[in-house]
């Protein structure tokens, strides 16, 4: 009897937290995602950071971009830690299956040497790019404003660490540990990679977290992923007998397709808030796409030969279309 009663409805006094109700338009049942919004302290800070005297610990004025409500920068994936972690755990089970499949079905043996070599030369140095990406998104999480935006930035940073490690595993599967050294050496010295390394190192000193977001997540990743994982891996290597390479890097394309939804939603929200925002973002995007295109050109040439300019051009065009849809003029 009492079991029946325990499950009987008791009328709640309220449906969600007050700060959440403010963000979702009133006291109504909130999703778990919504209950993670607004978690950042925002008033009455005590001490100025010893590492940034000009700003409060959390301070929207670190960016040129203005917003009334930073927690409006919602993630269309509605990721919170649990859903993100479980999604990545599932995806990496698939990665695991793919590695096992490739290793056990002689796909490595079947991989033409030329493809193997090309894949290693192009993909191994990208470990370092992913690490730089991880640094930049950690920085965005640390210095941008509002839990709604900074939390996905940290998830993005850790995705990049996962990608750096996946590329490491890829290199170790296709070759020996010396491949990592060779890739590192190319990253540090080979002229093919220097413009890209320079771009990343320049990005490490950007202090505006949203400018950094545009330079890294919008422009560089927006060009790099289509160029490498579609243009190079899917369209070039896979048809030429490199199915194994396609299988082992399938996560990257899937990841990119997923994360652009977040990136575009953030841009759209920022740009629609004010024409000043739209102008600033457009300026950053134009400059950083141009710069990223330039920096990727030698990598594209190494990967795709004479087709490089066309593939890179297509990637840039489709990125520009994305941004135009998000309300930027590029």
């Amino acid at each position: 009897m009492s079991i029946d009663l325990k499950t009987r409805e008791i009328k709640p006094l309220r449906h969600t937290y007050t700060h959440v109700a403010r963000l979702i338009g009133g006291d109504k049942p909130a999703t778990r995602y919504q209950e993670t919004l607004g978690a950042q302290p925002s008033a009455n800070f005590h001490y100025r950071p010893t590492w940034d005297l000009e700003h409060d610990l959390f301070d929207p004025s670190r960016s040129k971009i203005r917003m009334d409500q930073w927690d409006d920068l919602r993630d269309p994936r509605q990721f919170y830690y649990a859903t993100w972690t479980m999604a990545r755990a599932r995806q990496f089970e698939a990665v695991e299956t793919n590695f096992a499949f490739v290793e056990s079905h002689g796909m490595l043996a079947a991989l033409p040497e030329k493809i193997r070599e090309e894949a290693l030369v192009v993909l191994t140095p990208l470990r370092h790019v992913a690490w730089g990406d991880n640094m930049n998104n950690s920085q965005i999480c640390a210095t941008a404003y509002g839990a709604a935006f900074t939390a996905p930035a940290m998830l993005y940073a850790m995705d990049q660490l996962g990608i750096a490690q996946l590329l490491t595993r890829f290199a170790l599967t296709l070759g020996e540990a010396a491949e990592l050294e060779r890739g590192r050496d190319a990253w540090l010295r080979d002229p093919t990679w220097q413009p890209l390394r320079r771009l990343l190192e320049d990005s490490f000193v950007i202090t505006d977290p949203l400018e950094l977001f545009v330079v890294q997540d919008v422009a560089l990743d927006g060009l790099l992923y289509p160029l490498i994982y579609e243009g190079f891996v899917q369209d070039k290597l896979v048809p030429a007998g490199g199915a194994a390479v396609g299988l082992l890097t399938a996560f990257m394309s899937e990841w990119h397709e997923e994360t652009v939804r977040w990136i575009d939603a953030v841009l759209r929200k920022l740009a629609s808030f004010s024409s000043e925002n739209a102008t600033t973002l457009s300026g950053w995007a134009q400059a950083s796409i141009a710069r990223a295109k330039e920096a990727l050109a030698p990598v594209a040439a190494r990967a795709l030969g004479e087709k490089a300019p066309a593939v890179l051009g297509d990637a840039a065009e489709s990125l520009q279309r994305r941004l135009a849809k998000a309300g930027l003029s590029v």
Partner: protein, 118 residues
């Protein structure tokens, strides 16, 4: 000694007297922890010390049964922990009390509820 920072690190103190309606005075009644801690009050500097005893202390502490039993002639005063003899007719300023000074008074023979310093 100084904070280690990337650039010179100096900020105006947050609690200077100009920011308050009147200078802050802290008052503690020894052996009476029902009041938890010294209390914090803005008090105009031209308030006579007598007014502190006649008005401010009864408002703050009158609810305690010991308060009515205080023999004011025996009360011992301390300023920053050192014995202090206030002149009742003079103002707080004239008694040397300034912003964020702390005074305490001990009421000999009174040790709070049940002798438990409460």
């Amino acid at each position: 000694m100084a904070v280690k920072t990337v650039k010179p690190y100096r900020f105006a103190p947050r609690d200077t007297v100009d920011k308050f309606p009147a200078p802050i005075l802290y008052i503690g009644w020894e052996d009476h922890m029902m009041f938890v801690s010294p209390i914090c009050l803005p008090v105009p500097p031209d308030t006579p010390f007598q007014a502190l005893m006649d008005k401010i202390l009864p408002d703050a502490y009158g609810m305690h049964p010991d308060f009515a039993k205080i023999d004011w002639s025996k009360v011992q005063w301390f300023k920053s922990g050192k014995p202090f003899v206030p002149e009742p007719a003079k103002t707080l300023r004239e008694n040397g009390l300034g912003h964020k000074d702390v005074i305490r008074f001990r009421t000999p023979g009174l040790e709070g509820i049940g002798g438990a310093y409460f």
